[in-house]
Amino acid sequence: MGAPFSVTSISGYNSNPPSDDGTQTEANRVKWSTIKTKLPDPIKTAYEASETATLAAFAKIIGGNGITSTAGSYSALSTDQGKLIYATGAGATISTPDATDVDDPFVFGVRNASAGTITIDGFGSQTIDGAANVTMQSGDGTLLFTDGTNWFTTGLFPASSLTLSGTLTAATVTATGALNGATIGGSMVATVAEMETAGVTDKVVTPFTMNRSPGVAKAFVKYDSSGSVSASHNITSVTDGGAGALTPNWATDFSSANYSCVATPSANNSGSTATSFSAQLGTSPAAGSALVYTLRFSDGAQIDVTSTSVGAFGDQA
């Protein structure tokens, strides 16, 4: 097809008029009939030809040639330059015209308006972006250009991977493979309220809000018989109030005294006999701490153990 616009040349124009020697001869008289053939007629002809060429050119650029909707496969023609092929049938194949026939420049668009994928196939052995064909995802669109030999797309959403350096904003993103990125934000991230109600199934959890899930321990601590802390989270201190009576102090308070606290004592630290121990809360835990007793089974005495591990679950203020 070549360039969409053809340059118009002026025909009939006398570029070598006879010389005006100043003599009053018939040949030198100014007459309409002679001027008309020398100037206005060629201009009129050239202008009309330019208008026609301009209209033809506009018809060849993107958007100037209308839309061809197809529910099935379609083979684009040389007359489809500038046209959008609107494919509505999943699984259809849109074939390009012969690049050597349409020549460079030539461009047309394809939009996959179907619910599934479609294929764009290069004419004969002609390639598209170096491949025999490309797959378009549902909702995707592309322009196809040719260099007179093969075809090239622009704006096509890659089927295998998409790399963005900016922000992706979309109503729905469906990925069958991995979705990788440095960060994620917006309403995709579960809020504190959503973490606490735990009823949301389609949000991501970040470290920032993870602690607010009802199922996550808000604090934990492991301490020895004296209250010395060897591991902790959200603990300011452990107070040793006596043998087997220690109180972990939470760094951040629970919203009330109604939370769950579990404690596990480890080995006997007070004698050579194999004695069993249990742990129990001294009273209902306070919002900011929980008194944990370790008791000897045999007589119920509060007694030191090698170490105790405590975890606390519930809503925090």
């Binding site: 010395s228 107070t239 050579s272």
Partner: protein, 190 residues
């Protein structure tokens, strides 16, 4: 790594409470505060209200929250804040001790006693005697219970005259003498 110290306090009954700060909180307080989201997205005003609601001074609660968020305290200020928040207001003689200064033997832990004005930890002999008698009795009972399922010893209980030990315990003049009172038939409980 800093060597953590502890806060020794005297309760109104003369008993001793020892508060051990966590390495975690000392790092948070003395460095740049907790990382974003470390405690979840908490309502800090509610945290302050909760602390003041359980008797902590508002100025302490505010300092605590600021320290959790931003850190920036000196080590001394961090201990001071933990003292003000995690020890009861009716405790007295609050002092910062090295852990090595605490009594290594916790056998008589519940008999530890201390002046309301602070100072060293001493053992209340009266309470210690009760502890010693309780431990002897428990050791005898446990051993006899164990022997009940022992093929050779099930009908041979430990020969231990508790009344005799009670009298020896009553007469003990100090905790070292008290600690040596133990039935020979039983393994020594260290």
């Amino acid at each position: 790594m800093i060597k953590l110290r502890c806060i020794v306090s005297t309760r109104p009954d003369g008993g001793v409470s020892i508060t051990h700060p966590s390495a975690e909180i000392m790092a948070i307080f003395t460095l740049g505060g907790a990382p974003e989201g470390y405690f979840g997205r908490l309502d800090w005003d509610a945290q302050i209200a909760s602390m003041t609601g359980r008797g902590i001074r508002e100025s302490v609660a505010v300092r605590h929250v600021r320290a959790l968020i931003s850190g920036g305290l000196t080590t001394a200020e961090a201990y001071e804040l933990i003292r003000d928040r995690d020890t009861a207001s009716d405790w007295s003689g609050k002092e910062l001790w090295a852990r090595a200064e605490l009594p290594a033997d916790r056998w008589f832990r519940d008999a530890w006693h201390r002046s309301a004005n602070g100072g060293p930890i001493v053992i209340n002999l009266s309470r210690a005697k009760s502890i010693q008698f309780r431990e002897i009795k428990n050791a005898v009972d446990s051993e006899n219970k164990r022997r009940q399922s022992d093929l050779e010893l099930f009908d041979i209980p430990v020969a231990c005259d508790l009344a005799f030990f009670r009298e020896r315990i009553r007469k003990a003049s100090d905790e070292r003498e008290l600690r040596r009172i133990w039935p020979k038939e039983l393994a020594w409980m260290s």
